[in-house]
Structure formats: C-alpha cells, structure tokens
Amino acid sequence: MPVVELSYTRLQKLIGKVSKKQISDSLPFLGLDIESENKDLVRVEYSPNRPDYSTDFGIALGLQGLLGIKTGAIKLAIKRSKKYPISVNSSVSKIRPFVTGIIAKNGKIDDSMIKQFMTMQEDLHFGIGRKRKKSSIGIHDLDKISFPLLYTTTNKNYEFIPLNSEKPISISEIMTNTDLGKEYGSILGHSSMVPIILDSNQQTVSFPPIINAAVTTVTSKTKNLFVEVTGINKEDAEDMLSVVATILQKAGFVLESVHITGSKNSTPKLEQKKISVTSKLINQTLGLNLKTSKIISSLKKSRLDASSKGKQILCTIPAYRFDIFGPMDLVEETALGYGIQNLEPMLTPSQTIGQINPISLELKSLSQIMIGIGFLEALNSSLTSKRVLYEMTNRNSEKIISVLDSKSQEHTILRDSILPGLLENLSKNIHESYPQKTFEIGTVFTLNDSVSEKTNFSGISAHQDANFTEIKSVLQSALKTGFGLQIDTKTTTHPSFEDGRCATILQNGKPIGIIGEIDSKIIENYKVRVPVVGFEISLSESILKSI
C-alpha cells in the first residue's frame, strides 16, 4: 500500500477550523491507516483505488467532507480556452497514442508543495499508471514553453537536455545509460521511433513516458504550470489528469483547458458522471433504516452530490472518483459519510447448522492416534527447497515443481514428500534430548499432466535403539486403530533408506508408501548421531473414508 507523509499544520491550513486530534481521529475513517507519527508529521497508508489521497490536498478535501466543514462534490472550474493548442501526429498511434493535459495558473509554489506533487506523480505512475505503462504524467513550467505543441515521434539519435542533465543527450543514450531509461524504456517496445512533445520553437518539452526536458523544470519560482498525461488508453489518461486537476485546483491554481486535435485525440472534458441508487439497496446492504435526507447528507460528506428523484437517489460523481463503478460503491460512500464508527455490529441467529469437513475430522483423529503413540506433531512449509527435498535425501528430482522468482532461496520447490522436512527438523534439534519422535500430515504435490494434490502422512523416530520393528509397529497400530486397516511390508530399495532395512507398504497388495531405517549416510548429512527410522504413506481415498 502506498504511503504519504502529511503535516498536521499544513492540513489544518487546508481544512479550516479543526484540531490536530480531530484530524488524527478521523484519518482512519477515511480509509487511511496511520503508519507512524512524529510531532507534526504523520505517515498514512492509503488504498491504491484513491489516488487523490496521494497528496495532503486530496486528503484535506476528504476530511473537510467527513468533518462536515465543506461537503458535496468538488467541481472543477476550468476556463475553456484555445490559447493552448496541442496537435497530435498520427505516427504516435502505434507507440503511445494518446495525450491530454491542462493549464494551471497563478499558484504559489513552495518546497513542501513540490514535495507533495512529486509523491503524487510517483504514486500515480506506480498505481493507476501501472509503472508508467498505461499512463504517465509530466508537470512543466508553462512560462518556459511556447504553444502550440506537437505530440509526435522522433528517432533514437534525437538529442535534447533532459532533467538533471546539463548537456544534450541522445534518446538511445537516455534509454541505455540513465536509471529512468533503463527502468521504463521497455514500455516503448522495439520500435525505432519514440514519442516526443515539442513546442513551437522545436524545443523539447518531454520524452514520455521516460523523462521531461530540463528547461521546463518546476521550481519554487514557477507560477504557471502545464500538465501533460500520455498513455495507451484515452479514458485512463483522462482519469489520471482528473486527479491532478482536482489537486491543483485545491492547491490554489486557476485551471484553463488545452485544445487537443488530431489522430483520435480530443480536448479532455473531465466531466462528472451520474449514477442512481435506491435507499432500499443502501439500507438493506448496511442493515440500517436511514431516511433519504440522511443518505443524501452522508453522500455529501463523502464529497459527492446527491438528490432524490422519486425512489431513486441521483448522485453526481466528479471525474476523479473513477473508483466508483455503480450503485454498490455509493452504498459504501454512504457508509463512510454516515461514519463506520456509527454502525453497531449485530449478531443474527444462524439459519444454517455448521459442520467440520469430514476430511478434517479424519485427519484430526489420525493425529490424535499418533500423539497417543507418543509422537509430537510437526509442521513444515509445503514450499521448500531442492536441498531439503532432494539433495540431502538422495531422492530423484526428475519431476520437480518450482515457482518463479521466489524472494527466498529456502522456498522455491513444492514438496512431493513430507519425510525430508521431518529429517531436516532433526538436524535443527541435535542438542535436544532423545528420543525424538515426530509426525506430520500434510499436502504433497505431484506433477503429471498438471499438478495434483494429495494428503500424505509421515513419521520418524530417532534414538539410540530405533529400528525397523519399532516403526513398523507404530504405523501398523496407527492404521489399525485409525482406519481398521491391515498393512503388509515387502522388501524394496529406496535412495533414502538403508538397503535390506526398507520396505514398500502394501494395502491389499497395492503400494501406498515406504518404511524403513534411514540410510546412515543421510543421517550423517544431517549431523544426527542416532539411528533414525521413518515412514511415509499417501492417505488416498482407499484409506480416508470421506474423500
């Protein structure tokens, strides 16, 4: 979850008359988890579906609503203008087809505002921009640009001075030698051409989605901004723009439109949308009995507009609330505006009778029997390593099932057997007193046409006098007591077991597992100094009655 750092003093200025405590008490009820607090600073986690909460401006708008200071939908006041034309060349259509943007004038930019804009930009890129692939944003100093602009393509030898550089660099150099180029260059694919925004003096404004030109850098001296968003989908680019426009307006800028033409592009409208919902759905879903007027005032506290129209409540949703899909989202907005803390939990009697899964019951019985015999229950991960599963035990690793890109070397392979894990446990307990007798019942995975899952049951006994007879007695008694089952053992060999001390376990002549004395070399691998005996069987449908 993304995190944003806020200052209580700044929030108080943005919200109006409100105490620090009111703010910190209300943040969680806006869906913002306080991660840490340090005097005036507070770090909060916000949900990725609310990119407007990536700045204190957006959070201030939400808190104003929740605290009843300012309610209702935020309307964007955009001065329609043709002073800022952008034309689109059709060559971009196969690379990054859409551009959109807005002008924001007469703002007072300070360092903390720049910091908020930067985190907003980063979070928008990461979240709804899908690491800049879907859409990306550039914020520029308007006064360093001369309109009209052209969104077009250029080749990789093209040079300009990018952000944080003092001399011109070629596109191919940016792609191969800079951090941003290396990280995001792949978005542009293998095309020989890349998108570029040029102004009327042929000066580069931006090389989306990688980097801006140095000349348009925003500083604390900047008064007027130009924001451009490029992307692979028109609606997504406009969604991102709507968040930025709302934030800039709250930050004190006056918005003015750009005029976009060419190659299926057009001027963004950033229009509100209308969705209706019934009081019935809201009350039924929340378990409340709210009057329409209360629902309307709750929706307004969630910074939406609402009015009743017959049985329907008609809601007006600002463009930046593209997380709202339909009526059910309005139920949640009502709940938030009403206040989650005002919802009293209610336990209604169950109409159904509960039941433990019969397989769970059978497995629990089996573990009780093993405990009766004196075996301690162990639990190991199903995702383990090649070392534990195969190398330490000499087992055949032909049908290995591995996961991709695991962050942990100890967890890369799905187990096809439980016994290796139990043996590994012994090596971690060599200083504990013996006898050590453990068992585990768990899922194992086998690869045939696809992956299949089975429940296996394995036990080991390690002590000075451990021998084949002991472990066969244990398994025989456990299966007899548990399932009324008779087993036979037939000589076999197995890489993990000592030759001549190892047998296949047969149920009605059908092999169900392996039993024996663990090979002394394997015991040595684990640095264990006592004999170890063990077994493993598959608890298939011929044993468990409930499968």
Binding site: S47, R130, P345, L347, S382, V403, S408
Partner: protein, 462 residues
C-alpha cells in the same frame, strides 16, 4: 520437621555418624550397598547440602622392576660379594654369572673397597654384613607404603638407582557429613519417600500449537453455523484473481508478489460461459484486453477466497454459511513478521437479508470467543468487496491496535458474472497473527521451525 530419606541415604548417614571421613570403598563395606548406590546416595546428599566430598592426594612408594628383582635375588653387589666368598674369580667368569648387573655391582664394590683386583683375578677384601638400601628394600617388600614411613636416607639411595622405586600419586575422596546432617534424625516412618525431591521430566507428545489454534477457530465458526469446505492450494489465476475482479495488470498479480508455477498451465478450470462473463466484466469496467493465457497461469493461492468463490459459482446457494481454512502463499522475504506460506481463514454468508452490520456482528462474536473484546472497524479497500472494512483489535501486551481480519460484501462485478444473485458477506485473515498473540510470540517463523525446545515447553491451554 524430620526429613524423609531414601534407604540408601539413611545407611550412608548412619555409617558416617559412626565413623566420619570415609571413602566410598569404606562406605561400601560398612553399608553393604553397591558402588553405584553409594555414588547416587552421595549425589543426593550433596544436593541437599547434607554431605561434603573432600578430595585429597597422597603419594605411595613401591618397588620398581629392578627393585623387585633385587628383592628376589638380593642386590647385585650382594650377589657379587657372595660369589667371591670362597675364592677369587676371573673377571670374565663373574661377567658371565652376573650378566647386566655386573657393571653396577662392580662399580659399587670398588668404590666401597669391598674387592681387590690383581691381574685378571678379583678377590674379596671385606664383606659388610648389611649393605646400604638392603634394609629398606626388604621393608617395602611387595607393599605400597606412604613415603613418610620409610628411612629417608636409605630411600634416597634406592631412588637414585634406575627402576628400583616407583612413586604413585592417588586421589582420595573422603565423604563427611555437614553440621546440619550430623543433627538429622533418621525417622523410621516405614514406606515414606522423599516427596519433595526433583523427578525426571517427561516430554509429552502433543498437537502442534498452531494446529490447536486452527482447530479452535474451526470449532468457533462451526458453532456459529458455518460449514467447512476445502480446496486446492494450486489454482488457476482465473479463480484466484480474474473471478475476483482483480485486473490482469494489477500489481498484486506480478511475479514479485505471487508465486507462479514454472510452465504449468491450468486446464479445464472453468466453463466457457464463466470465462465469457468474467472476461466481459473485466473488459467493460477495467477497459483492457483480457487475455485467457493470463487466466490459465497456475498460482499458489494468495488467499482462500478462490475456494469459496468457486464453491459459490458451482452451487449458487440462496442461503449459506461456509468457511475455508488453509495455507496461502505470498512471494515475500521471510522475516519475523512475514512468511511465504501461512494459514488463512475465509468465510462467507449468503442470504437475501445478509448485511454489513451482520458481518460486523459475526466478527465481534468471533473475537469475543478468542478472548478479544476491544475491537473497532475501519474502512479499507479490497478489489472484490464493496463496502470493505477491517477489524482493529487492541493488544494489551503490545499496547497497540493490530489489524486482523478484513471483510466486505462481494462486489456485483464479482457475483453477477458467476450467476450469484444474493448478497455475499465475506471476511478473512491470517491465523498466525492470532496464534502469535495467543502464545506471546514476536517471531512468526517459530511456528514452522519445529524447534523441540519450544514445542516441548509451550503450554497447550492458553
């Protein structure tokens, strides 16, 4: 209060009362106990502060190889004098008769003027009745003696000669009673044993503590009217993500968060109708090109919700309380806070009147039954529920609020495509976190370490 003693202890104490400072060997004789019983008895008495064991060393003297030979055949110089008693003899004859000892014997005899050498003959000059060392040799004989009992002058002469005398240092353990033991009264209460004594520990076989927590939680939901369903840990991305309205380019679906099985595609995971309706919901709401190949990728389930949604899509019940409990996986770096594999419970309520307050009520009841009463609900976000809440519970030991189960009502974008018409309340969360609170653990890895020291010591009823 008279102490209760073991029979062994009684015998040792009374023997020591009669004769203080005894060795174990002497105690064996006086008590007629075996050496092992004496050893144990002394250990017990030492633990009770009733006996003291003092160790000391003494040195003893006995004859060495040459000393013993001389004891049998007389000293070499005596043998020489005896041979010369009747008449002088040739040097070569004497050498033949005395062998190795001729040299040292001859040396001593000449030095002390006992013999005379003329041309090749050796004759007796005078013969003393007692030779130096002779007396001491006979005194020691075959015995081991303390050095202070022997004539020191004589002994020093023998000590100079090779292998005549050996010195043995022996350790002696002497056992005596402490002052408090001397005044103990040995009662005769028959059959009484030392009920205050320490006894050996038995390591009890038991279920795993985490299993106990799982069973406890399972029982609670069953009593609340829920039935358990089980499902596979390997799932198609379709049921783990697509059916739950998680777009295919969502960050949670990336390799760095989710485990994908290498080159294993799921087959026949859903009906063509299900695939059509789910993909349409994605295309319409998330505006992208939904790809069946993404849905086919096999994942290790990231939540048990895939099991419940599959069950719902299949049975389409109008009324149901169902839960699923099992392992889920996240591609995380393992730490004291995070595991790659952990247990999750996930439950649902289906019913035409199911609502958010009911959902909160079930949560409150569940927490009450595991002993947590201080709870609150906060809004949160999940891609597949709306509205969505999370429970925060207060932990006294840590002194802070902790996030536990998440919950919500399945979005229409999830239920409608699968033909589920009634509202579905859903909640879920990790079990290890609850178990950590229960067992007071700060490191979640302990549950899977199978560390016998912990498993043998943690109490079952908490």
């Amino acid at each position: 209060m008279s102490q209760v003693f073991h029979e062994i202890e009684k015998k040792i104490i009374s023997s020591l009362k009669n004769k203080p400072n005894q060795t174990s060997e002497s105690l064996e004789k006086s008590t007629k106990l075996s050496s092992d019983q004496i050893r144990r008895g002394i250990e017990w008495l030492k633990l009770k502060n009733l006996a003291i064991v003092k160790e000391s060393t003494t040195s003893v003297i006995c004859l060495g190889k040459n000393g013993l030979e001389s004891l049998e055949k007389e000293l070499p110089e005596r043998r020489l004098l005896n041979l010369l008693k009747n008449k002088p003899k040739k040097l070569s004859d004497l050498q033949k008769e005395l062998g190795f000892v001729f040299g040292p014997a001859m040396g001593l005899a000449r030095k002390n003027n006992w013999v005379e050498i003329s041309s090749d003959k050796i004759s007796l000059k005078n013969s003393p009745s007692s030779l130096p060392g002779e007396k001491t040799l006979k005194f020691i004989g075959n015995n081991k003696l303390s050095a202070d009992k022997i004539d020191q002058n004589d002994l020093s002469l023998l000590l100079k000669r090779p292998d005549f005398i050996t010195e043995e240092i022996t350790k002696i353990k002497e056992i005596s009673l402490t002052e408090s033991a001397k005044s103990t009264v040995l009662s005769d209460s028959s059959g009484a044993i030392d009920v205050e004594a320490k006894v050996p520990e038995i390591f009890v076989a038991r279920t795993h503590p985490l299993k106990d927590t799982l069973d406890e939680i399972r029982e609670i939901f069953v009593t609340l009217g829920f039935s358990e369903i089980i499902g596979n840990m390997t799932q198609s991305s379709f049921w783990n993500f697509d059916a739950l309205f998680t777009p295919q380019d969502h960050p949670a679906r990336e390799l760095q968060d989710t485990f994908y099985l290498d080159a294993i595609k799921s087959k026949k995971f859903a009906s063509s109708e299900q695939i059509r309706t789910v993909s349409e919901s994605h295309k319409k709401n998330w505006r992208y090109n939904w790809d069946i190949n993404e849905a086919k990728k096999t994942v290790l389930r990231t939540h048990t919700t895939c099991v419940t949604i599959k069950h719902l899509a299949e049975k389409k019940p109008d009324e149901a309380r169902i839960f699923s409990l099992g392992r889920v996986f996240r591609n995380e770096k393992v730490s004291y806070k995070h595991l790659v594999e952990f247990n999750q419970i996930e439950g649902i309520v289906v019913g035409k009147d199911a609502n958010l307050r009911n959902l909160m009520g079930i949560q409150r009841e569940f927490y009450k039954r595991i002993g947590i009463t201080k709870i609150k609900f906060w809004p949160t976000f999940f891609p597949y529920t709306e509205p969505s809440l999370q429970t925060m519970v207060y932990n006294e030991r840590l002194g802070k609020w902790i996030e536990l189960f998440g919950m919500g009502i399945f979005r229409p974008e999830v239920t409608k495509p699968l033909g589920i018409t009634k509202p579905v309340l859903a909640w879920g969360g990790g079990i290890e976190r609850i178990a950590m609170l229960k067992y007071g653990l700060d490191d979640v890895r302990e549950f899977y370490n199978n560390n016998l020291n912990w498993l043998r010591s943690v109490s079952k009823c908490q």
